[in-house]
Amino acid sequence: MSGRHPYAGQPAERFWRSASGAVGELDPVGKVSFRIGAADRVVTAGSCFAQHVARHLGLAGFRHHVTEPGHPLIGPVERAAFQYGMFSARYGNIYTARQLRQLLARAYGEFVPVAECWDGPQGGVVDPFRPQIQPGGFLHLAELRADRAQHLAAVRRAVEEMEVFVFTLGLTEAWLDRRDGAVFPLAPGVAGGVFDEAVHEFHNFTVDETAQDLAAALGMIRARNARARVVVTVSPVPLAATALPRHVWVSTTYSKAVLRVAAEQVCAGMEGVDYFPSYEIITSPHVRGRYFAADGRAVLEEGVEHVMRVFLRHYGGAAGGAVAAEEDTHLAEMERIVRVICDEEAIRGE
């Protein structure tokens, strides 16, 4: 009774035995629906794992499109400390699909949250929707408002100028404002503000909610930029903490399962939206846990490099060399002039 069956003659990667190999060789990517050219502007957003992706995109020769790089008079180290250039705009980590959807709505004036600012833990005020971007907080509400206006303008530029959007889903657990449903990236009280049970509530997003939010967010982008193509990934980083009365690992597996399924559904239903398996590369038994640090949570650079190597292989055929970072010579030139003028002063004084 031998004969044809559905598995006969299928490619090697479909079989566990033949798909296994050396740790660094795992490549679970199938067919991709587009390539990323050297001139294509790639916008990034997402959870903390997305920071690695954003950082490596530039190194790999992709054009990481940063619409809020910070003023070039300020040195790159200081700008990085204030989270400029970490993602395409200074939105900090975006953990949930609802957070992304609401950011876009805020950028286009479709949603104005009740929560406008929180008291900072070290004085000043912080933005409830990006509480960690500003070490020490903003001076006052006026400064926060001015910065927010610039930030949301940068988000709009990112949306309208991108060719490719790479978004990394991170969490399903979130804290909401009961008054308007605004989603905060961190629980009130963690990095500013005060937790108030009457105002704040916990929510664990479901598959349907996540898929609807993600599809709506991508739809908002497409409505303003029809050419935008999208790569969706899921962060492999486990939850740092769960708000539910159960083990953090159980909450992690729920969260990642929801995100993975939602990503699958959205990618299957939208043209030009690919799922990229960075989650699978890092967590696969094929790599035998080698990509996690000793704490079992942080992803090691070797793992990120593996992910980006695979990403480049499949999407980067046309990508060119790394784009040079913006450099500003104004301040150096002015300092040189002041020094020379000071020398002239000395000469004149003799």
Partner: protein
């Protein structure tokens, strides 16, 4: 580059850069002061490691009083000439409360972090070393609030002449940069136990800017008349 003969007994070492020139011109012949503009020194007073050299410090008996006029122009470097990305910022140290519409707002914390890094390397380190070397009184002279209107800078641009295509930055922005600079210097003086000497009141207008009669013929310094006022201030501060 050095005026005053230490072997004849000057008791006060004045150490700084371009801002010492106004004092030097304004103080006349006062043998109690030994004035050095380190910009003219060879070898340089600061080594490649950013520290004041032992050879420089060895020139001064430790029991002299020290007047620091180190640095004092980073605000000029940062913001005298309008950048192609015109900026503004809120400054809690300034009476200039608002920001100008249409300009890019840099968060204050970021500007302050940048200033602190630059000043610590170029100014505060050497000031701290001077404080450690001299056992007598130490006074730091605040740089003058030389914040003239654009027309003065355009008339006397010096080497900024070829760099004014975008114009001169608004006085309000320059005022805030000066105020931030001054606040950080004042803070460092308190930290190292040096007396901070603010600009003399009689040299300032109602907004705290240097009166025109004290402007040098350049964008960023006081003149000899201003130096004479500072000299008088120093005599009082040092009990002379």
């Amino acid at each position: 580059m050095v005026s005053g003969d230490m072997s004849q007994g000057p008791r006060i070492a004045v150490i700084g850069q371009s801002h010492v020139q106004a004092l030097r011109r304004g103080m006349g012949a006062d043998g109690r002061f030994a004035v050095v503009d380190t910009n003219g020194l060879a070898p340089a007073w600061v080594g490649e490691d950013g520290r004041v050299t032992a050879a420089f410090l060895a020139r001064y008996p430790r029991d002299m009083a020290c007047v620091s006029m180190v640095g004092g122009n980073f605000h000029t470097s940062f913001g005298l000439v309008e950048h192609e990305r015109r900026f503004d910022f809120f400054c809690p140290f300034s009476a200039e409360a608002g920001v100008e519409a249409g300009r890019e707002i840099i968060p204050f914390g970021l500007v302050a972090t940048c200033f602190r890094r630059v000043l610590e390397a170029s100014m505060f380190g050497p000031m701290t070393q001077l404080r450690e070397h001299f056992t007598g009184a130490m006074v730091h002279v605040c740089s003058p609030p030389m914040l003239p209107p654009a027309w003065h800078v355009e008339r006397h641009p010096n080497l900024f002449g070829g760099k004014l295509a975008n114009g001169v930055a608004p006085q309000g922005v320059r005022q805030k940069l000066y105020d931030l600079h001054t606040a950080l210097v004042r803070e460092h003086c308190a930290a190292i136990g040096a007396r901070f000497l603010p600009p003399p009141d009689e040299a300032l207008d109602a907004q705290g800017r240097l009166l025109e009669r004290y402007w040098a013929d350049d964008p960023s310094h006081g003149n000899a008349a201003y130096g004479a006022l500072v000299h008088q201030q120093l005599l009082e501060a040092l009990g002379l």
